[in-house]
Every structure is written in C-alpha cells, then in structure tokens.
C-alpha cells in the first residue's frame, strides 16, 4: 500500500538535487481502465489477433489484449497497440463489445506524470544475448536450437506447453540435449560480449538436472570452457550433477548443423585432445549471456549517470550500489551480470543507501495498513471453505484436483470447495475474501504448497476479510504430494485426500489467537570489526541507531589490511583507514576491542548480551544483531608450503608486492596453483576470490617485468562477471594458463634448493616441468570457528562452517534466526565489494525491525495450563530457554511450583507439549485436541 506501481512507464526527465528530485514519467496508454478490469479474460478469449507471447519469448502465442503472465501484478489486461486490429486496420473492437465492465477505452491517451521523490534507484535489469549474430550456431534457422531462457519456458509448468518438455521441430520429447556455454559471453571476436555472464554455467547445470526429472533417462551434455560454479552450495550442486550423469565436455563447439529432416541437431566441436568430433542431439540449448537492457543507455543519459564500456552502470569497489550521480543508486543486473541472490542483496543495499539520505523524512508519506474489525466467531458453528490450488500443473499435473475437490465436498462442516489455477494469485485472494463474506465462512483450508512461504499471505487475506488470521490451515499437497509422488498419481491423489481431511479436522478446532507485541530496543550489535562489520556499524549509526561493535582483536579492519587493491584497481588502504576513522569517531558507535560475546538471551527486537571486554563483563541490550566475524586464509599443508621459503600464499605475495617489489621484479618464473584447499572432498566449495586474485597479481608481475614467465595452473578459471576482462588482459600480457584436474594435481618437488612443478598439459598429454623462483598457492578462504555464535544465537550453519541464510535466493542476508543478519566472509567467501553490499543490505533489513517501536510476535506460543504441577520436565527440553520454574502461593495457602513461559523467547516448537505427561503446557494452534483430531482423521482411511 506504500508502493505505487507505474506500469508501461518510462522515465523522461529528472530535475532537482538529492533529497528532492522531480522526475517526469511517460505512461503509455493501457487502453484498459485498471479500476474497472476484473481480469475475467473474456476479452482475450474473443480477441481475434494472435501474436507471439513475449513473456514466453515467442515460444507460445498470446492475444493482442493480454496480461503479461497469470500471476503478474497488477492483474489487469492491456492492449498491445502494435498488434491490435483496431489500431492497425481501424476495426474490430471485439473486446469492447464483450467486456462486462466496460473497461476498454480505445481513446486512452496515456499520461505524463511528474513526481517528487527524494532518491532514485535504477534496476532496469538485463536482456538475454541474441544469438542470431552467431550464424554458425544456426539459431533462428534450425528449429531445435533454443536459448537458455526459451528452454526455461519449455520446462515451466506455466509455460506454453504446461511443463511437458518437447522440442520445437516436431513436438517430441527430447532424449539427448546439449548445452553450449558462453554464447555471447567471453567472446573476443566482437560478435558477443567480452565479459563472463556469471549465471549461465549454473543455469545450464540446473536445466540439465531438471531435464532429467522431466524425461527419465535423458542424456544431457554441457559443453563448457570453465565451469563457474562459484557461489554458495554451487560446487556441491555441480558435483552432484556429475554424479547424476550429466556429462561435462570441455570444448567450445564451433558450429551446430541441422539434423536429418531438420529435426535435432549435430554439434561439431574440437575435443581437448585436439580432434574434431561430431555428436547428434535432439535439442541444443544456447546458454546465452546477459547484456545491458535496451533502454539502459537512454535511462542513463536521462538521469545522468555514467556507464562503463559494456553499458553497465559504473560503480566503485567500495560502494557497489552508488552511481556517479549523488542520490541515484543502482542494483540488479544493470550494474553487472549477477545472480539472483546478489541482485537481491544489492537491492537491499541500494534501498538502505536511499533511506539513509532521506532519514529526516522517514514516515512522512507512508500510511499504515488498516484491517476491518475482527468478526467474533466463538458463537458460530465451523463453516469451512476449502481452496485447492492447481499450482499451474505443479499439483494438477499429478493429483486429480477435480476428484480431490469432489471428495472435499463430502467432508463434515465444509461449506465451499473451489479449485484455482494459482491460489496465491492476487485475484484468488480477492475471491477468498469475497467468499468469506458471502458465505459467512469462518475457517479456511488451503490445499496448496508450504506454509513456510505462503501462510503469511493467506493469514493477511483472512484479516482483510475480517477473520482472525489463525483460522487458516494449509495442507501441503505440492511438496509432500505431487512433487514426491510424481510417478504415482493415484497414490498422490489419495494422500492429498488424507491431507485435506486432516486439515479440515484441525481447522474445525481452530480458534482465534492474539499476537503479543514486545517493545523494540532501537539499538544494534555488530559482531566483527572487519570491512563488513565496520560498514554495517557505520550505516546503522547513520540511520540514527546506537551501535555496539564487538571486535575480538585489538585492531579494526580485519583481512582488508592484507589486501592491496580491489579487482577494479582501487587502493584498499585509504578506504579502510577512512572507514575505521569514521567508525571510531562516530558518536553513536561504541567500539569494544578485545571483546567477546559471552551470552545472549531474548529474541528479535529485544536481545540482551553479555560481553567480556579485556576480562571485564558488560551487558548490552539490542534489537538486532549483524554477524560479520569474517574468515581467514587457509594455511596450506600441501605443495611444500612452510617447507620451502619461496612457496607463498596469495596474501603473502600481496605483502611482498607491497614491501619488496624489487625482489619480485628481479626474480625468475612465477607459478600460481589455484584451488589450494578449495573444491576438494571435505571442502567442496569454491573460494571465489582466488582466481581473480591470482590473475591480478600475475598482471602486476608482468607489469613489473614483461619478460617474466608467469604460469597459472587452474581447474576452472572463475574470473566471473566483468572480472573476465582481467583474465583477457593477463593472456594478452603473456601469462600462460594450464588446466589441471582434481585427479591429476600438479606435483611440487625440491631439488638442490630449487622448486620444481610438474603438471600434465592436456593438449600435449605430456607432463610439463616448470622451475619457478616463486610458487604462489591460491589458498582458499576458511570460516572462523562459528560454533560459539551458533550456540549463542541458535542460527544455522552449513557443513563447511559458513552461517546459513534464511533463503538462498530471496533472503541472502537474513540468518535463520529473526533479527540476526549476516555479512561478509562468515556467510561465504566473497570479494570486498560484495561484503560491503551485504553489510549495507543487512543494515537495511535490520532497519526494518529497528524502525518500529514495537514488534508483533507470532501467536503460536506455549501456554502453561492449570494442570502444571511444576515437575520441570519441559524446562530441560526447551531449546530456547523460554521456560522457567517459579514458586507461587496457591489458593490453599501452601507454596507450589509451576512453569512460566516467556512469550518473547518461545518459538512454538512444541517440545514442551510433547514432553509434558499431564497436559500442563500447550502450544496455541497445536493443542492436543487439534492434533488428536488430525491423527483420528488420518487413521479414518485405514
């Protein structure tokens, strides 16, 4: 409600200064009155004109009057004036005739708007590379060559073929599919982009795995140059794909030919042994890269921000969301090619930057959402409405939703059953609210997906319809039904019936619950004084919150002291000293050095911590915490490290470059070995920064002495994104790159004091012996010991010791615990600019909590009943320390003991209820009668 959408709009001008801009917009006519359109779809049904659907990338068709896609916001039709017969030929107007609400307006002139805003955030996104210019790949000529994004539509349940994977030429299921990587990326001939697009390797691996789900036994082959699985959990995903039979071929195919009868394709490539091969496939997918959006140049010119030569918005390594013009910020793929989590992180960071400059005017233009008064349902008999979601074909493709709906109608107290294509869509929310009012429903069952992602949405719908939000039950017939039993539809349908019956049984016993509110302590705790922690502390303080920064050492700055430059070439030290000075002199920041967090109690909005500072203990209260304890360089045990003085780690080479460049200039050959301590069994992750770091240092060495032989021995060179330009530069300067494999690592020996490195050259197939003066090991990043923090905050940690985020795509800076946020290396290895971005994003997310004076808690909480006799069994099992024993004086005048539950600490896990032998404690929303009703319902089928 505090977001106003301006669709079909472009920015045409901007005036003013940071804090007070006037932006003009041109809103193209929609020709449909959004206030009248009810998205019934009659117009599109009657529209005689079919055009390729741009949402489905032309794979399917849509009409000239259309909605962008079925879950889009706003769910209102629009007329495409370039396709509409009335605009082209002057007659038709079928939509106007059939529209039941008279929403069509062919005379819609559009609108010019002038809006006053304090800041601007640019997020125009990217466009996929158009591979038509690469004629040898035959895209556009050969029907069975598609782009990666088109293949997404082919796989998608909401796509033109409802998720039945077919190839375009003859609509048959493909059994052998090839992916060609780096199409339009890492290109040196001017027909593509020179940079790496970052995401294509992983999307190809994902598509190969999903293909195997669609077509069991399908053969999938990925032709790649370097497989860049460089982010969190990506390496394991890649290794898992190899184990599941996806074939990875290191080659860049030079051409694709049509198969016999124009069906299928023939891929021609030069294998690693130098021989030309041909292989037949049913379908080829071009993993097209990302490039700047069409309008990027115009937008940048209009608003006056600088672009880099690749038409991405120029930023610095120290503030990756600030553009060249103050008050205007950038996020998403408009800044550089990036994956979803990075785009989300930068978006939060940009939002925070904008918010910080406008902090004076916070809350001046926003409104609070209001709900109608809650209906008292205590006197009413349960009247249950069941809404069954088809989820496109995600559910309906396996489960017979019609049969399920018919069955649900037979259940007691069910008044209404409806089946929706997407129950989560906006129009269905309106429908649910309308049905609640019309039929006086007082309990709702949603048979769809997981409450984890969608319960809040349905709770809100109930509130809008005047019902208590806790009168909704969800039956997860997708994740627990159609997804896990996709090969057994009959069983899945039977199970869905059981689930719906259980949900209905429980819903009948649901009762209204009230949410308690706790006051928010508007202070923050930041753990860790590296760049991420410093940035987070400074940003929080700038937003007006008092911050306590805890650093275990006696010096702020962390690993950044060991770095020379960012990959963009900016000096790190001036930035770092400036940042430290700002933090240490900020009146709102209290810096505690040699300090350690000893204990934490409380929960989001109201934590209390005990910090030991140089042996002394202090207490602090805080509403949110940002964890930024960083990581460290792995000290290798291999390759003669520590045994030979000229075997260095990357950071040791940095120090040498800083302090004794002359020594390096005079030295002979230098060899880098990549992936030391990364991407190995037991440490199955990529440390991300090391490839770029080595390439940068190789360039520095070549600049010191152009004649010096420099070798980089690598597995997959992961100079992702615009960093690819560095590796191109290194090659131009004569750095020699030799790939090796995990099975055949380089061997390092010493003879007469000289180092010898032996590696097998894949093209020659023979060992190559190098005698370097220096051997640099690109050792990976290790997390610090996070077990202490995990213990204190109960936050999640992955098997490598990195703290886990709440959702890998959509909540990349929130930890698994509310009110605790992550930034920097403790989350995953990352370069400086991403650590800064994550810290800023963490502050934005934290600010959402701190901006409130009180915080609503969930109502699913434990409550002690009169049966409690103070045995204390539950106190021992409570993992959140929410239960305590207390003495009290009973009616009989004697002293008794009983348990009390702290609502702010309780997470409603239910362990206490399960432990209690006498119904002395219960959890609201999961009371014993409710659970019994569910169990009885499921046993009914037996």
């Amino acid at each position: 409600m505090n977001i106003e959408l301006h669709t079909l709009s472009t920015v045409t001008g901007i005036q003013g200064h940071p804090g007070n801009f006037t932006v003009t917009l041109r809103q193209a006519p929609r020709y449909v009155d959004p206030d009248k359109c009810i998205a019934c779809g009659l117009c599109a049904e009657k529209c005689p004109k079919k055009v390729p659907d741009d949402y489905n990338l032309g794979v399917g068709k849509r009409r000239a009057i259309y909605i962008y896609y079925s879950q889009t916001v706003p769910l209102k039709y629009a007329i495409d004036p370039e396709a509409c017969l009335y605009f082209l030929k002057g007659k038709c107007k079928a939509c106007e005739k059939f529209c039941p609400t008279g929403a069509i307006n062919f005379a819609d002139p559009g609108e010019e708007l002038s809006l006053k805003v304090g800041a601007l955030i640019l997020a125009p996104g990217y466009r996929p590379f158009d591979p038509r210019v690469l004629a040898p790949y035959g895209y556009g000529r050969i029907p069975d060559v598609v782009t990666g994004l088109e293949y997404e539509r082919l796989l998608s349940a909401g796509g033109p073929f409802q998720g039945h994977l077919i190839r375009p030429s003859d609509h048959q299921e493909p059994h052998k599919v090839a992916w060609i990587q780096c199409v339009g990326s890492r290109s040196q001939d001017g027909r593509g982009n020179p940079y790496c697009s970052t995401v294509c390797c992983m999307y190809a691996v994902k598509q190969a795995l999903v293909t195997a789900d669609h077509v069991p036994g399908a053969e999938t082959v990925i032709f790649y140059m370097d497989l860049r699985a460089h982010n969190k959990e990506f390496e394991r995903y890649y290794v898992n794909a190899q184990a599941k039979g996806v074939r990875f071929v290191r080659a860049r195919p030079h051409s694709i030919l049509p198969g016999p009868l124009s069906r299928g394709v023939v891929v021609e490539y030069v294998a690693e042994d130098g021989r030309t091969r041909q292989e037949d496939f049913d379908l080829a997918v071009l993993s097209v890269g990302l490039e700047a959006q069409d309008g990027a140049l115009e937008l940048a010119t209009t608003v006056g921000v600088d672009l880099n030569p690749f038409r991405f918005v120029e930023t610095t390594g120290f503030n990756p969301v600030a553009t060249s013009r103050p008050g205007i910020y950038v996020c998403g793929a408009a800044e550089s090619p990036k994956s979803i989590p990075r785009a989300v992180m930068d978006a939060s960071a940009a939002a925070g930057e904008a918010a910080r400059t406008l902090v004076m005017a916070r809350g001046t233009l926003t409104r609070e959402k209001t709900y109608p008064p809650e209906r008292d349902v205590s006197k009413e008999e349960p009247r249950i409405g069941v809404f069954i979601c088809s989820c496109g074909i995600n559910i309906a493709g396996v489960i017979d939703v019609q049969e399920l709906a018919d069955y649900a109608r037979t259940l007691p107290r069910v008044v209404l059953v409806e089946n929706n294509l997407f129950t989560c869509s906006t129009d269905t929310q309106d429908l649910i609210a309308a049905r609640i009012r019309e039929l006086n429903l007082n309990r709702i069952v949603i048979a769809a997906c997981t409450p984890r992602t969608h319960e809040a949405l349905f709770q809100d719908t109930l509130r809008e319809a005047g019902l208590n939000p806790y009168l909704v039950e969800m039956a997860n017939i997708r994740n627990q039904g159609s997804w896990v039993h996709q090969h057994n539809p009959a069983y899945a349908t039977r199970k869905a019936k059981d689930q719906v019956r259980m949900a209905v049984a429980k819903a009948a016993l649901d009762y209204p619950l009230a949410r308690a509110a706790v006051p928010v302590v508007q202070q923050a705790l930041v753990v860790g004084g590296g760049v991420a922690g410093l940035t987070a502390a400074l940003e929080l303080a700038e937003q007006g919150y008092a911050v306590t920064l805890v650093e275990k050492g006696d010096k702020l700055g962390g690993n950044a002291w060991l770095l020379n430059r960012t990959w963009k070439g900016e000096e790190v030290r001036p930035f770092l000293t400036g940042l430290i000075a700002q933090v240490e002199n900020h009146p709102k920041i209290q810096v505690l050095k040699q300090a350690e967090l000893k204990s934490v109690s409380g929960s989001v909005g109201n934590f209390t911590g005990e910090i030991s500072v140089a042996g002394e203990s202090r207490r602090v209260s805080f509403g949110v915490a940002v964890l930024a304890i960083g990581g460290q360089e792995y000290k290798p045990e291999e390759y003669l490290y520590g045994e030979h003085p000229r075997v260095l780690t990357a950071l040791e080479l940095d120090a040498l470059l800083r302090e004794k460049p002359a020594d390096l200039k005079a030295a002979g050959p230098v060899v880098f070995i990549q992936c030391v301590g990364s991407r190995e069994p037991g440490r199955m992750y990529c440390s991300r920064t090391c490839c770029t770091h080595s390439v940068e240092n190789a360039i520095r060495l070549k600049e010191l002495d152009p004649e010096k032989p420099v070798y980089i021995l690598y597995r997959d060179l992961r100079t992702y994104g615009l960093r690819e330009n560095l590796s191109t530069k290194a090659r131009e300067l004569g750095v020699i790159f030799i790939p090796y494999t995990l099975e055949n690592k380089p061997r390092v020996t010493e003879s007469a004091g000289r180092l010898e490195v032996t590696v097998t050259d894949p093209i020659l197939g023979l060992p190559v012996r190098l005698s370097p003066d220096y051997l640099v090991l690109a050792s990976g990043i290790r997390p610090h010991d996070t077990s202490g923090l995990v213990e204190l905050f109960k936050c999640g940690v992955n098997e490598d010791g990195f703290l886990t985020e709440a959702h890998p795509k959509l909540r990349p800076v929130d930890s698994t615990v509310d009110g605790v946020f992550l930034a920097g290396l403790c989350h995953y290895p990352k370069p400086l600019e991403e650590a800064v971005s994550q810290a800023k994003a963490a502050v934005t997310r934290a600010g959402i909590i701190l901006a409130k004076s009180a915080m609503e808690l969930d109502a699913i909480k434990s409550e002690v009943t009169a049966h409690c006799d103070g045995c204390g069994l539950c106190v021992d099992v409570c993992p959140y320390l929410a239960l305590k024993l207390e003495d009290y004086q009973g009616d009989d005048g004697r002293r008794h003991r009983r348990v009390v539950s702290d609502k702010a600490l309780c997470k409603g896990c239910g362990l206490c209820e399960a432990t209690c032998p006498k119904e002395g404690i219960t959890v609201h929303g999961f009371t014993l009668p409710q659970l019994e009703a569910q169990v009885e319902a499921v046993l009914e089928a037996l």
Binding site: I67, G125, C331, I340, L365, I848
Partner: protein
Amino acid sequence: MFVVHLVALAKAIGVHRNTIRNWVKSGRLPCRPGPGKGLVFTPEDFARLCQEFHLEPEALAPRQVGGGREAQPRPAARLGATASREDNMTGNVVGSVMVVGGGIAGIQAALDLADSGYYVHLVEAKAGIGGKMAQLDKTYPTNDCAM
C-alpha cells in the same frame, strides 16, 4: 532588503492581513512598512520568518531592493543559501523513492523501502512486474520454483 506584499504574506501564513498589521505594530514581525502594502525585511529576518512559518521563499514573490550591487544573483538562490540549510534538512527532503524497474531487484528494493517507512514509486516498462525471474522455471541450487 526584501519587500514582501502584505496580502501575499497573510495568505501564505494563513491569517488575516490585519493580524499581520498588528504583528508589525507590536514588533512581533521584524520589519518596517514599505511603499504601498509592502513590508521590508532584512535578508536574515526574512530567512527567519520563512523558517518559523515553514514558508517557501519563492511563494512570497519577494522583491529585492537596495544592496543590489553586491552581485547577488536571484533572491531565491541567495535565500536558499542563507535560510535553508536547516530547511533543507527537514522540510525539503521528500520521503519517497522512485525505483525504476520491476524485476526481482526493483521489487526487493521497493519492499525494503516501504517497510522502512518510505513511499515508493515503482516504475516498470512492461504491463506487469516480475521481470526475468518470473520467466524462470526453477532456481538453483535448491530447485525451488522461481515464481
């Protein structure tokens, strides 16, 4: 010196013109009567006035008289420099942000801002928001539905 019309000032503050006259007489308004219904202020007093009543200096259409030889550009610009440092920090900052682009990045930025107390104008070139992510089937590495 600035000359402001009595009626314009009364309108801007929202009181009757006689009230203004009374204020001038009682000395509450630091100015002296000028030609016609004009009131003459020193630049400092004028700035204080604008600040006290939250007035836009330009809205009063002040005429600059005397001291014009000091090579000052336009009165509005000068006022901006003297009077509105404070003013700029409070009154002139707009509590809304425009986000250009309704893909996942734009949507996230818009939501974060709206949740933090800022009004958001989300601008999208297409007929609906969602962007490229809405076109994806599943996301790696968890194979969650992109929608």
